[in-house]
């Protein structure tokens, strides 16, 4: 009888262990789906930061299809939906919050496409030779521009800026105000990458450091992370999939579908996909490099929209020798909106903004 009970207990224990193993295996397969990057860092031939930056600058690929994920956590308050300010403000704000997916295709400098993939909409900028198209599925609007054939090599303002190109520009801008260090290796989108750390030397910068991930084979940047002074990640842009084969030509072809409104874009001012060529406010920049401050004069002192006014009033009031205004403070960017209609923006401490406004 006792032996029987013991064998029964043993049987139950075995069954329980079996159950545990099955559940553990399934959970492991579940996590495995998402945490493939758990492998050890790859061993790559060592490169000095300068060597690496040079290779990035001269990197050339015939074509590429990639998906990037952009995350922003600027410590902005969650904005109520339907806030005043129109579509442009709305779309500008959405990029500053949450997670976004960006699909990128390139085939040489003449062909590129960047599509911002949102839950149930998509906006794209497509360059196909000298033709540039913009598309917004939400507004069902397309824009078109033709690039001047005389300067085919120059980068046209209307051309889309792929994340890789954006990183490229960043590298050109860093200059002597930056401390560059190599920081080992890792994986992005399953590919071995070098890691570079770019840290602003100016203590007034809100940016603590930028970590840049460079593909070890092609030297194409595959992503970056921007950390604030406290070391918290404020913005990241990382490739989730990359394919360096030349995409099909059809990817760069765009024919506006029937019934879609097409706007002819001013090629000089078409940096925005929506292509609205409003008269731009008068702007000037103060400072250089990481701590550049942009001061704009909006020319208007009145905020008409009730919601926007309420939002503005909720910001802390600040004042100084430069005047009075409100401060919008995030972990990475500070904005001062003065009562006399000026706006100062920069990735700098608010004191630096006040100094710029006082000029």
């Amino acid at each position: 009888m006792k032996a029987q009970q013991q064998s029964e207990t043993r049987r139950r224990t075995t069954r329980l262990i079996g159950a545990g193993v099955i559940v553990a295996l399934l959970l492991a397969s579940l996590t495995g789906l998402f945490a493939r990057g758990a492998a050890a860092d790859p061993t790559l031939p060592p490169l000095t930061p300068t060597e690496l930056l040079n290779r990035v600058a001269t990197a050339q690929v015939d074509g590429m299809s990639a998906t990037f994920t952009q995350r922003s956590d600027l410590g902005l308050p969650a904005l109520p939906s339907g806030i005043g300010g129109g579509d442009e403000l709305q779309s500008a704000l959405t990029l500053l919050t949450g997670t976004h997916t960006i699909r990128v295709w390139t085939a040489g400098p003449q062909h590129s496409r960047v599509s911002l993939v949102d839950d149930d909409s998509e906006s794209s900028v497509i360059r196909n030779g000298n033709q540039v198209w913009t598309w917004s599925s939400e507004q069902q609007k397309a824009g078109h521009a033709t690039i001047d054939a005389k300067t085919p090599t120059a980068r046209p303002t209307g051309a889309p800026s792929t994340p890789a190109e954006a990183i490229d520009r960043l590298l050109k801008a860093i200059g002597p105000s930056t401390e560059v260090t190599a920081s080992g290796t890792g994986y992005v989108a399953g590919r071995p990458v070098y890691q570079l750390i770019l840290a602003p030397k100016d203590a007034a910068s809100l940016i603590g450091q930028v970590r840049l991930f460079v593909d070890a084979t092609t030297y194409v940047p595959l992503g970056l992370r921007v950390l604030d002074r406290g070391g918290a990640e404020a913005v990241s842009l990382l490739a989730s999939t990359v394919d360096f084969s030349v995409p099909a030509a059809g990817v760069f072809e765009f024919t506006p579908p029937a019934g879609v409104e097409v706007t002819e874009l001013d090629a000089k001012a078409s940096d925005h996909p929506t292509g609205t060529a409003k008269s731009r406010p008068e702007t000037k920049t103060v400072g250089t490099g990481w701590t550049t401050v942009l001061v704009a004069s909006t020319g208007t002192t009145k905020v008409t929209d009730a919601t926007a006014k309420a939002l503005l009033d909720s910001l802390p009031a600040v004042s100084g020798a430069w005047g009075r205004g409100r401060l919008l403070s995030t972990s990475l960017v500070n904005v001062v909106l003065t009562d006399d209609g000026r706006v100062a923006v920069g990735a700098v401490t608010e004191d630096r903004l006040y100094a710029a406004l006082a000029r």
Partner: protein
């Protein structure tokens, strides 16, 4: 053919007989037919509402799938999936899943099935299979019902993809069918959660309510921005990714991740159901 092969063929054939019986029971049940009709009626209702508002304010057209219906009825298939994916389709699957084991237990038919004897694993596999078929039927009825209603009310034509390219009617319908199948995989995964819950109780209503609540809870959690670290792990997070089939080229990253999540949830909860059911004392 060896004797073993013959035996295996016969066994497959006989499992097929039970599976056919299960499908017949599911489809023949008046309540399920009414549920399916409700799913269909909801799409019709949305179609009619859109028609009325289109007649009141002609020419206005937004970029989202629902407002696109006014220009092309085929979009109502996609819009129907969008509208019913959060509540009605999960509810329908919850009803089927809650009934799966608990319904038989409650009726007492479970003991006679087991004495027939249908092995416990075989019974669970057949029930899971029926839930998968039910999920496909539910999603397909919404998609097909949407197209049917939409085409009658608004007419059909080539679709405009989210990327701004033109898709032929055939291409659009093909993508809609794939979208419905993708949605069905998610519903089936929820069905496996329901199957597990159904093995915990002898009250089918309780199992249905619990499953529907799990589905709703997942959507609520998925909508809380503070929990964004959790979102990729939630079953429902990538369900709406079926719209990625409307991009050109088709964007598969989220759909593949969604299929992975659906499969993982389905497998985990089927395994839990099996662990629970294999040694369960059938006292009903």
């Amino acid at each position: 053919m060896s004797a073993a092969e013959k035996t295996r063929e016969r066994r497959v054939h006989r499992s097929g007989r039970l599976f056919a019986s299960e499908l017949g029971l599911m489809c023949g049940r008046r309540r399920n037919q009414v549920g399916l009709a409700t799913l269909f009626a909801l799409v019709v209702l949305v179609g009619v509402a859109l028609k009325v508002s289109a007649m009141r304010r002609p020419g206005s057209r937004g970029g989202d799938l629902v407002s696109a219906v006014a220009g092309n009825g085929i979009y109502l298939g996609f819009a129907g999936l969008t509208i019913e994916i959060a509540l009605f389709l999960p509810l329908a699957v919850s009803v089927l899943a809650g009934d799966a084991v608990a319904g038989e237990a409650n009726q007492g038919t479970l003991r006679y099935l087991l004495l027939a004897p249908v092995g416990r694993l075989r019974l669970l596999v057949v029930k899971a299979g029926a839930l998968i078929v039910g999920s496909v039927i539910g999603a397909m009825v919404v998609a097909a019902g949407g197209v049917l209603t939409g085409v009658v009310l608004f007419g059909a034509g080539p679709l405009i993809s989210l990327s701004g390219t033109q898709l032929s009617v055939a291409d659009g319908l093909w993508r809609l069918a794939l979208a419905a199948l993708y949605v069905a995989t998610g519903l089936a995964a929820l069905g496996m959660i329901g199957l597990f819950i159904s093995t915990l109780t002898e009250q089918p209503i309780a199992a249905t309510v619990a499953t529907a609540m799990v589905g709703t809870l997942l959507w609520v959690l998925d909508a809380v921005p503070q929990l964004d670290w959790l979102h990729p792990w939630l079953l429902v997070d990538r369900w709406p990714a079926f719209v990625d089939l409307l991009r050109e080229p088709v964007f598969l990253d989220r759909i593949v991740a969604g299929l992975g999540i659906n499969a993982a949830y389905g497998a985990v909860f089927f395994a839990l159901a099996w662990l629970r059911f294999r040694g369960k004392d059938i006292t009903s």
